[in-house]
């Protein structure tokens, strides 16, 4: 006859012969997860980076069961977790997950766009080739010089803010068929809060900072970058600059070859990477129970 022995402790008021497994506080019939270690760690992500990870060594030599949390003060979020917007500077989502292997528990964070990155599509454009406010254009259009301007409202920069980078991303909606580099000069509009474009803004005062660029125009549907960090810093250092003001840029042709130009109606944007970092804290409870066998 098979022996039936062990330890069984029931909840208060429940009979030891109960057939409901939930009435048992613990029983030697059932394994329990065995604690291995309790760990805390953090991931610091420098602004401009879209992801990060960190490993916690467990020294078990096999893949263990575990539970991981992202912690914010007294709040813990079990991993994996997904957080949609809003976040500072336009990050649309961030997600956290984790995995175990035979050496480590790895915690990962991913954000899109990257942390600390602010970007915004243009609100105003001008091109002097067609003399209208429908698109931005720069270069040489079949022998005729083309210059343009672009404006962004509600810019998320405080006065004198140090930034990691600032780029104009000009979408190549159309381009000329000519050969050679696009030659352009980009200035900022040196105003505290440059007004919306109505007609030509090309006569507005230019910044001292300028970007001289000689570049092959990328294929259509791609973006061409213009480094405007020093221009942005000059404008945001103005006495009258304040957060959410508007920034404007003027892009002049600088003797581009015949029929080498860039032209966009819809998609160009300004991308600013702030200076700083963000830190996420984690807690990971590792069990001695193996999951990979």
């Amino acid at each position: 006859m098979a022996k039936d022995y062990g330890i069984k402790v029931m909840k208060a008021g429940e009979d030891i012969s109960s057939s409901d497994i939930r009435d048992i506080l613990f029983s030697s019939k059932y394994t329990m997860l065995k604690y291995h270690s309790d760990n805390t760690t953090s991931i610091e992500i420098t602004y401009g980076d879209g992801s990060g990870e960190i490993e916690i060594s467990h020294d078990l030599g096999y893949v263990p069961a575990y539970i991981a949390y992202m912690t914010e003060g007294l709040i813990s979020y079990p991993l994996p977790s997904y957080f949609p917007a809003p976040f500072p500077f336009g990050t649309q989502y961030q997600q956290f997950d984790s995995y175990a292997d035979d050496e480590n528990i790895t915690l990962r964070v991913k954000a899109e766009p990257a942390y600390g990155v602010w970007n915004r599509n243009f609100t105003d454009v001008y091109n002097d080739y067609y003399n209208n406010n429908w698109s931005v254009m720069a270069g040489n259009n079949d022998g005729t010089t083309a210059s343009g301007a672009i404006r962004f409202n509600a810019v998320d920069l405080v006065k004198d803010e140090s930034i990691t980078s600032a780029w104009l991303r000009i979408y190549v909606g159309y381009k000329g068929a000519g050969a050679g580099n696009l030659e352009i000069q980009t200035f900022g509009i040196d105003e505290d809060d440059t007004a919306a474009f109505s007609g030509s803004p090309m006569g507005r005062t230019s910044t001292t900072a300028v970007n001289n660029q000689s570049v092959i125009v990328p294929p259509t549907t791609e973006y061409m970058g213009i480094d405007v960090k020093s221009i942005v810093e000059e404008v945001t250092a103005r006495g009258g600059w304040s957060r959410w003001n508007a920034l404007g840029f003027k892009i002049y042709d600088n003797s581009s070859p015949n029929d080498v130009y860039i032209h966009d109606y819809y998609n160009s944007y300004l991308e600013i990477v702030h200076s700083g970092s963000t830190t996420f804290n984690f807690r990971v409870i590792i069990f001695k129970d193996r999951i990979d066998s």
Binding site: I67, A68, P80, A100, D292
Partner: protein, 141 residues
């Protein structure tokens, strides 16, 4: 009325400690009991979704934790919980455990009869994905 039960404290902690974390075992507090561990391998065609169905026989909805190795033979076992396409990297062609679904026909869930694990192969070739479900003898309802 008597105060009786079983207490086992961590090394260095007094048995009179009022702190639950000081105990390895304390009959005052219910412990999560593993009812069973289920493991398997799903062969999933390119771009397909396969569902494993585990009949746990508990007649109530238990606590469950699920791990999977969404990138075959990587040795990386992801904890799978609450968001869509958890684990692995779908962009790289890994498989992922689908834990949110627009209806309750598919997806990963537990009910009084079954644990269902839905895994999608985002890659271009068939893959064998290992999984493990730890089912506890405690209610998750």
């Amino acid at each position: 009325m008597g105060d009786y039960g079983i207490k086992v404290t961590k090394a260095g902690e007094d048995v009179s400690s009022p702190t639950p974390e000081d105990y390895i075992l304390n009959s005052k507090y219910s412990s999560v009991k593993i009812q069973a561990q289920y493991t398997g391998t799903l062969t999933i065609g390119a771009g397909d979704t396969e569902v494993v169905s585990i009949e746990h026989g508990l007649s109530f909805t238990p606590l469950v934790i699920i791990f999977a190795e969404p990138s075959p033979s990587s040795g990386k076992w992801f904890f799978c919980l609450v968001y869509n396409d958890s684990g692995g990297d779908p962009d790289s062609g890994d498989c992922s455990v689908d834990t949110t679904w627009p209806d309750d026909i598919a997806g990963t869930y537990v009910d009084p009869d079954y644990v269902k694990i839905s895994i999608t192969n985002h890659g271009g070739s068939s893959k064998d994905v290992k999984w493990r479900a730890i089912v506890f003898a405690d209610s998750g309802e």
